[in-house]
Subunit: 317 residues, 4 copies
């Protein structure tokens, strides 16, 4: 995919809603070929973006498909009520994706979490997987009347290329070929433009995870085309790239006009390793823990139709 | 495999050398069909056991094949010299297995570590994998003259059934089918009879990992027959089962005669969950860290013929 | 304190209720000078033991004072309801100790947690302290009408002698002299006789923590006499010593009669390092996490009269 | 201390060498009242800065005293040779501070590490303390001829105000009053101007740790004046503040002239929480581990005159 105008200006984001804004779109006046819908729900903002064709995709740097973002206004953690409200809201939106993709309540789901334990911003996937209610190993041994509305679910944290020597997509493809899930849920850490997204925002999409997106920079993607099954991607912003912070500050200091933006000067004047620097709030460890809980709870509610939200929260670690 | 006499008496061990002893064998007078060799090397004891036929295998509760145990006499950690001596010794013995199995220096190796992070005694495999020098992702892009004696190596920590819903052997089989390694190295935590083995002992064998052995109780095994390639298993004792401690104490208190041993009474009088209790030294966390370093260093030395031990230790985390 | 009969027989326990039982006492027929009361509450067993005089203390190996134990019947974790019920129950019992010691709602409390992070069974104190609602640093700056029923609370994890070179009691005494709390709450990991106590039981007492009790083997104690203020000790069983497991098994296998018990033979036949071995369930990591949450929640409820249990659970990590 | 010019421009640094540069000083032409010396040693840069009087201190935002910085050129970790070279070099410089302060080889040292485990950039102190060779608890029991050149050393990680309700300086003062060390070594995480300092740089100084410096923002300091004994502060850069990154980028993009710098606009246009954002390399977890090892090894060599560097590295975790 060719670089977008906003990427050339030094911005990096994996969130469709930010990409739309950076490409000049507005809530009330979206770009051509983009459908945007925003609503408030229990204090949270829910933004749906549909990228309807290839041209719109090129402008946003996003494949055509559905993108859903939930964000909570307050930058605080450890409030159980907020955790529950967000989890239920996210669960309903994941259920909408399941329905749109015509996935039935007993279809085998394979949850794949990307990232690695050893780096805090990249640890959100491995943290989610610990709390996923996996059932596939019990399901086949249980008589149908005893399954109690549980879906067969299995899960895996394949690790990162530098520590395994294996492309994530290679491992996932091999296991998908073997166990034949009806669909894949992929959980990954994302980069955002705005540091306030960290610990407060989740994106759901049906276009998969693409080479170069997420923090891990995979060379192959986890896409529906490659894996041969639908992929619901859950993305969780945990970092902002330093180039983005600088580009943002420059834009604000420059009065907001975009024309003369110093992309070339950024490139020439900033040291090369600058592009790998990430910005986080000091308390990123806590924020990542909190949002991982929300995603795990939402997946448990959405994937297992017979399990109530109350039960999920009761057993949530 | 039918239960052995010593298993009925309440003992559990994954070490061939202890199994031989429990079955009544001695160093100087091994059981029929068993070949035993013990030597001292730089203060460490190296014991080779060859189980030569099926009958001997049944007596020991072990498949026919080669078993090699290295143990260090002192129960102490954090001495770099000891780490290095043990690592070199273990590396040489792994190289002997490679030679016996006719594995060449550029044959692709797939390292599979069993166990899970969240339980200290079962975390040894995941700790080893962090320090394995993986190269497969770089190897194919490097011209042969630049490979510098590195073997293509990849690695994976597939997780445990209860957290993934996937049998370890299913995942490993699928990935083996896909990436076609020439051989597999499997690293697993073991149960020993004697608590002094924890942090001091490593077993290498060529018979794979079997259903019910190790701490994870897999239902399928990682065996050469199942995977279709040679398997070198590296086993690391990290626990002793409580039943074994009691059986051992009873034997010692009873004067050592084995005939009237209270296996039935053990079964009847001890609470059922007793069989899942494990005994560890209080400092098990440190001991597991230490032995994981030894195994990782030895694998790096043995697998990469062009990497010297000095270089391995220089970069050892 | 001289060794008790049950200690000579190989048993070790820090729980007064187990010590009473081992000394031959029964619920219905307690030993002389011991008052015992047991009740059930919401499925949990609450046992109060009052050791009324020195003679009774010698029989039990416990100082005269009040000992309260709460235990939950099921050996399971991660059920939020159970966490809440246990926390509220424990909070009420801690409030009873506060009332008996005539401690007012604005009296400064100093929470001291013993143990260390690096050893799972000994990490329960450090895990509790992370979730304690500390307020002392804010309290002095807040006008009385804004304090909202919060007590001034501070907390500390002084570490273990081997890692600091400082006796815990030295540090605590120095800080007590400086900040002048009205009372101390000390949280420590305990040894039990019965492995089913791990993750299911909490003991509260007013006699402090004594040299040689707990897992850390302090040479000085954290006692009311030494510190000059009341000490409420919260003890959490996380291990059973291997000698206790063996003594227990022997007693059961021997038909239960106590007379001819093999204490001398235990001593002679078991290897010396045996006395340092601990027995835990394999899932001890999870059980310790769970019980640490219960204790932290109970302390937050009991110490801050203006904070409701609902608020505590809402913000519980 | 009044804000310096460079602080007003949005820069924050705890390193004297960066402060000197930001204040307009150069290696060859230092500011008045500042003495600077730079040398290369085994590939590392060693910079000594002496702030000779109050006026110079105001210009730099640093108290008069000695500041020593060691930095290694390469931004890589896990090379044991580099670890050893840096450790020995740092040890020699710490020994110079000991000599200048007339501290003898048997003078009691109290090592205080600031920061907390739960936040990666702030965890460097707690990581150092795990590997410090503490001896005070053994020293008094050993006859002088058996002490083997060990100094009595004790250590403590007092935690952070938000988790304890206690000022670090309160705790340290209380313990210092009680155990009467001859001097204190304080280890703390620092903010730098340049992200390349992370994992590569250590600062040693004799002016203590001051209110508002370091990451923890203590309200009181750990200074020689307050504690009544000499304080050797070891500072380890682990973050760069986002404001500093932006100020730096602006300066570079603006052609380097300082006059018209947008400090007021920075303040007005950037969101308020921006000032708490920190920038780190993605691999900060590994870099912090590595530099913590260097500091622990150097302290063990420098503090214990009878322990050789070889022995320290042999036992280094």
């Amino acid at each position: 995919m060719p670089q977008t105008e906003w990427q050339r200006r030094g911005f990096r984001t994996d969130l469709a809603m930010e990409a739309h804004e950076l490409a000049g779109g507005e809530m009330e006046r979206p770009l051509p070929g983009v459908h945007v819908d925003r609503r408030m729900e229990e204090g949270n903002t829910v933004i749906k973006i549909v990228v309807e064709d290839e041209a719109a995709g090129r402008a946003l740097g996003k494949l055509p498909g559905h993108y859903l973002t939930i964000q909570t206004p307050d930058f605080q953690s450890q409030n159980r009520d907020r955790t529950e409200i967000l989890s239920r809201l996210l669960a309903r939106e994941i259920e909408n994706f399941l329905a749109r993709l015509a996935l039935g309540p007993e279809d085998l789901c394979f949850v794949v979490v990307l990232g690695n334990w050893a780096s805090t911003p990249d640890s959100v996937g491995p943290k989610v997987v610990r709390s996923i209610l996996v059932t596939r190993h019990l399901w086949d041994f249980s008589p149908p009347e005893k399954r109690g509305g549980l879906r067969p679910v299995c899960a895996m944290a394949p690790g990162v290329l530098g520590l395994t020597g294996l492309e994530t997509s290679e491992i996932v493809f091999a296991v998908v070929q073997r166990i034949r899930p009806r669909f894949v849920v992929a959980v990954d850490a994302l980069a955002a433009r705005n540091v306030e997204r960290i610990g407060t925002t989740v994106q759901v999409s049906d276009t998969g995870i693409h080479p170069g997106s997420g923090l891990g920079n995979n060379r192959l993607g986890l896409t529906p085309g490659f894996l041969g099954v639908p992929v619901i991607a859950i993305g969780i912003p945990t970092v902002v790239y330093a180039t983005t912070i600088v580009a943002d500050a420059l834009e604000k200091l420059g009065g907001g006009e975009r024309s003369g933006l110093p992309d070339e000067r950024l490139r020439r004047h900033l040291p090369p390793q600058f592009t790998e620097l990430v910005v986080t709030p000091k308390e990123v460890d806590l924020l990542v823990d909190e949002v991982a809980k929300v995603v795990a709870a939402a997946l448990n509610i959405a994937l297992h139709p017979g399990v109530s939200a109350e039960e999920v929260f009761r057993y949530l670690q």
